[in-house]
C-alpha cells in the first residue's frame, strides 16, 4: 500500500551499527551525550508520519486502547452503571435493546450499542472486552518476544551445529497444528477461576507464536555478527552473553518492533478464536471473541450483539495491521516480506 513513500536511500546510512558499540558499553549516566544515536528513530518517525494509513491506524489504536482503559470508568461516572450491571427492575424491558434505544423504545444516549441478552450495556461491555483482548494480545506478544528474540539471537550468533539443530526444531514446530494442541491444553487444564484461565491463555499463546520472531532475529544476527563492532567487542574480551544481549539484540530492534506490531493482531485473532469456541476467556471476564460468541446466538433477531464487538475488533486489527505495515516501511524499507 505505502510504496508511494519511496525509501530515501540516504536515510539508511544512519542505521550503521558502529554507533551501537559505543551505546551499548556506555555508562547509563553518559548515554545522553550520544545525540546522533536517535536519528534512526527520528527518521523512521518522520517516514511513518508521511504514511497516512499508518497514522490513521495509530490514531485508531490509541483511541481504542484509551477507550478500553478509561471508558468503563467514564461510563460509570456519566450513566452510573458498570459493564457488569444487570438492571434489577423492569428486567425484560431492558434486555436486547437496539442501539440508542431506551426501555420504552424511545431515543436515548445511554446505550449507543444497545444492550445484551441480560440487559447489560453493550458499549461498556465492548470497551471492557477490549481491555482483555488488547491485554492478552500485548502480553502474549511480550512472552513471544522474550522467547523468540533470545532463541533467534543465540542460534544465529553461535552458528554451526547448534544453529542447525535449533533451526531444525523451529522448522518442526512450524509444521505442527499448534492451535489443535492449544485447544487440547486449554480444555484439559481448564482452570476453575477466570484469572487462572487467562494465565493459561497467555502461556499457550505466547509459547506458540515466537517461531517467526526467532527466524527474523536469527537472520538479522547472522548478517550482523561478522561486522567489525562485534569483532571489536570480542577482541576486548566481552563475554558471549553480553555480546548477544548488549550488542546484537539492540541492533535487531527495528525488525523486532515491526514484527511485534504484526504479532499483536495475530494473537488477538487467535485469542478471539479460542474464546469464541469457549476455550479462552471465561465469564464474568469478557473479550471481543467471547462477546461475539454470545452475540451469535441471537444473530437473526439482535444482530447488533454480534456486529458491535466483531466490528470493533476488526477495526482494531485492521488498524494494527496498517500500523505494522507502515512501521515496516518506515523502519526498514528493504524488508518486504508479507
Amino acid at each position: 500500500m505505502s510504496t508511494e513513500n519511496k525509501p530515501d536511500q540516504e536515510d539508511l546510512v544512519h542505521i550503521g551499527p558502529e554507533m551501537a558499540v559505543a551505546e551499548a558499553d556506555v555508562h547509563p549516566d553518559e548515554a545522553g551525550t550520544f545525540v546522533h544515536g536517535t536519528s534512526l528513530w527520528r527518521d523512521a518517525w518522520r517516514r511513518l508520519l508521511k504514511n497516512k494509513l499508518a497514522v490513521l491506524g495509530l490514531v485508531v489504536v490509541v483511541v481504542v486502547t484509551l477507550g478500553s482503559i478509561i471508558g468503563p470508568t467514564v461510563i460509570k461516572g456519566v450513566f452510573g452503571f458498570t459493564p457488569d450491571y444487570i438492571p434489577t427492575h423492569n428486567i425484560n424491558a431492558t434486555r436486547s435493546l437496539p442501539p440508542f434505544t431506551g426501555p420504552g423504545g424511545e431515543f436515548t444516549w445511554t446505550h449507543p450499542m444497545g444492550t445484551d441478552n441480560a440487559g447489560r450495556d453493550q458499549f461498556a461491555r465492548v470497551l471492557q472486552g477490549g481491555q482483555i483482548s488488547l491485554f492478552v494480545g500485548i502480553l502474549s506478544t511480550l512472552v513471544s518476544l522474550l522467547i523468540g528474540v533470545t532463541y533467534g539471537a543465540v542460534s544465529g550468533y553461535l552458528g554451526g551445529r547448534v544453529d542447525n539443530v535449533m533451526m531444525r526444531i523451529v522448522d518442526v514446530l512450524y509444521s505442527l497444528p499448534y492451535v489443535i494442541v492449544v485447544i487440547v491444553l486449554l480444555s484439559m487444564f481448564r482452570s476453575q477461576t477466570p484469572r487462572g484461565q487467562l494465565i493459561l491463555l497467555f502461556i499457550a499463546l505466547g509459547s506458540v507464536s515466537w517461531l517467526t520472531m526467532a527466524r527474523i532475529v536469527r537472520g538479522q544476527v547472522l548478517s550482523l555478527k561478522n561486522q567489525e563492532f562485534v569483532l571489536a567487542a570480542r577482541a576486548t574480551g566481552v563475554s558471549t552473553t553480553r555480546i548477544i544481549f548488549r550488542h546484537l539484540i539492540p541492533n535487531t530492534l527495528g525488525p523486532v518492533i515491526v514484527y511485534a506490531t504484526l504479532t499483536i493482531p495475530q494473537i488477538m485473532l487467535t485469542e478471539a478464536f479460542l474464546s469464541f469456541l469457549g476455550f479462552g476467556v471465561q465469564a464474568p471476564l469478557a473479550s471481543w471473541g467471547s462477546l461475539a460468541s454470545d452475540g451469535i446466538q441471537n444473530i437473526a433477531i439482535f444482530p447488533w450483539q454480534l456486529i458491535f464487538p466483531g466490528m470493533t475488533m476488526a477495526l482494531t486489527l485492521f488498524s494494527l495491521n496498517f500500523l505494522g505495515d507502515g512501521l515496516r516501511d518506515a523502519l526498514d524499507p528493504q524488508m518486504r516480506t508479507v
Binding site: 500500500m1 518442526v172 497444528p177 451469535i296 454480534l306 476488526a314
Partner: protein
C-alpha cells in the same frame, strides 16, 4: 533429489510422533479423568472403569497401546459416541471438512493470484490500492464475524442461500462456508503474490525477456508468474494448518458435521480416544501435505535441494 526426499521423510515421522505424544501427555497430566463428573463414583465402579479402559496399567503400557494403535491406524473406540470407532467418525466427518477446505483453498488461490498479479503489474494504481485494502480487510475480519454477517445478508435478509446444515457435496449450502473460510487465504495469497511479483518484475531476467522482444503476456505468464509465485507455494504448508483451524470455526458457525466440530466436542467432553485419534489424523495429514509441498518446492526451485 532422492536424498532430499529421504531426509524430509526422516524429519516428518518423528514430528508426527511428537505431536501425538504431546497430546497424550497433556491429556494424562490434566487433573481429573474422563469419567470424573459432578458426583463421586463408588470405589468399586471406579475400579472397574479403570480396568475396562486399561487405566490401571503403568503409563508406558498405556502409551505403548495408544501408539501401537496409531501405527496400525486403528484409533480405538469413542467414549461418548457409544459403539462407534474413532475411525468410523473420522471417515464420516472427513469428507465434510475436506470439501469446504479444498474448495476454499482453490477459490483463494484463483482470486488471490489474479488480484495480487494485477496489483503488482499496475503498482500504485487504483486496482492496486483497492485490492490491497480489501486484502487487509480480509486479514483483519475474524471469520466468526464474517460468517454470521454473510448469513445475515444472504440468508436472513435476501433469502438467497441457506444459512447452515450439511446436505451433501455439491449443494448451495456450501457457498457461505466456503466464502467465509477462503476470505483470509485469498487476502494472504493476494499479498504474497503482489510482493513476490513486484520483486521478480524488477529482476534482470525479466528485463532480458522483455529485451528479446517477448510480448508482455508471455513475460508475465511464462517468466514472472513462475518466480513470483514461489512465496505462494511455500505458503501452502502453513495455509493447510490454518485452513484446518479455520474449518473448526466455520463448521461450528454453519453446523457442519466435520472433523473440526467433532474435535471441539471431543475436547469439551474429554473423549480421549477421539481427541488423540483426530489429532493424530490431522498431524499425519498435515505433515504429509507439508512433505509434498517441500518436494514440489525443491522441484520448482533447484536452490532448495542443495542447502
Amino acid at each position: 533429489m532422492l536424498r532430499f526426499i529421504v531426509r524430509r521423510i526422516l524429519i516428518t515421522i518423528p514430528t508426527i510422533l511428537v505431536v501425538i505424544s504431546i497430546t497424550w501427555v497433556l491429556i494424562k497430566l490434566a487433573p481429573g479423568n474422563f469419567y470424573s463428573g459432578e458426583k463421586q463414583l463408588p470405589p468399586a465402579i471406579e475400579k472397574s472403569i479403570r480396568e475396562k479402559y486399561g487405566l490401571d496399567k503403568p503409563w508406558y503400557e498405556q502409551y505403548g497401546k495408544t501408539m501401537w494403535g496409531i501405527v496400525r491406524l486403528d484409533f480405538g473406540t469413542s467414549l461418548r459416541y457409544q459403539g462407534q470407532s474413532v475411525n468410523t467418525i473420522i471417515r464420516r466427518s472427513l469428507p465434510v471438512s475436506a470439501a469446504i477446505g479444498i474448495l476454499a483453498y482453490i477459490l483463494a488461490l484463483i482470486v488471490g493470484v489474479i488480484a495480487g498479479s494485477i496489483a503488482a503489474l499496475k503498482q500504485n494504481s487504483r486496482y492496486d490500492y483497492i485490492s490491497m485494502a480489501l486484502a487487509m480487510l480480509g486479514i483483519s475480519i475474524p471469520n466468526f464475524v464474517l460468517g454470521p454477517i454473510l448469513v445475515l445478508i444472504f440468508s436472513l435478509t435476501l433469502y438467497w442461500l441457506p444459512p447452515s446444515r450439511w446436505e451433501g457435496f455439491p449443494s448451495r449450502n456450501l457457498v457461505l462456508p466456503v466464502l467465509t473460510l477462503s476470505a483470509i487465504y485469498m487476502a494472504y495469497i493476494a499479498r504474497l503474490t503482489r510482493a513476490g511479483m513486484l520483486e521478480v518484475l524488477r529482476s534482470d531476467y525479466i528485463r532480458t525477456a522483455r529485451a528479446k522482444g517477448l510480448s508482455e503476456r508471455d513475460v508475465v505468464i511464462r517468466h514472472a508468474l513462475r518466480g513470483g509465485l514461489m512465496p505462494v507455494v511455500s505458503y501452502t504448508g502453513p495455509a493447510l494448518a490454518f485452513l484446518l483451524t479455520g474449518t473448526v470455526v466455520v463448521e461450528r458457525i454453519f453446523a457442519l458435521p466435520g472433523l473440526g466440530n467433532y474435535f471441539i466436542q471431543a475436547s469439551l467432553n474429554r473423549d480421549e480416544p477421539l481427541i488423540i485419534g483426530i489429532v493424530a489424523f490431522i498431524a499425519i495429514t498435515l505433515l504429509l501435505m507439508n512433505l509434498l509441498v517441500d518436494i514440489a518446492y525443491a522441484y520448482l526451485d533447484p536452490r532448495v535441494r542443495y542447502q
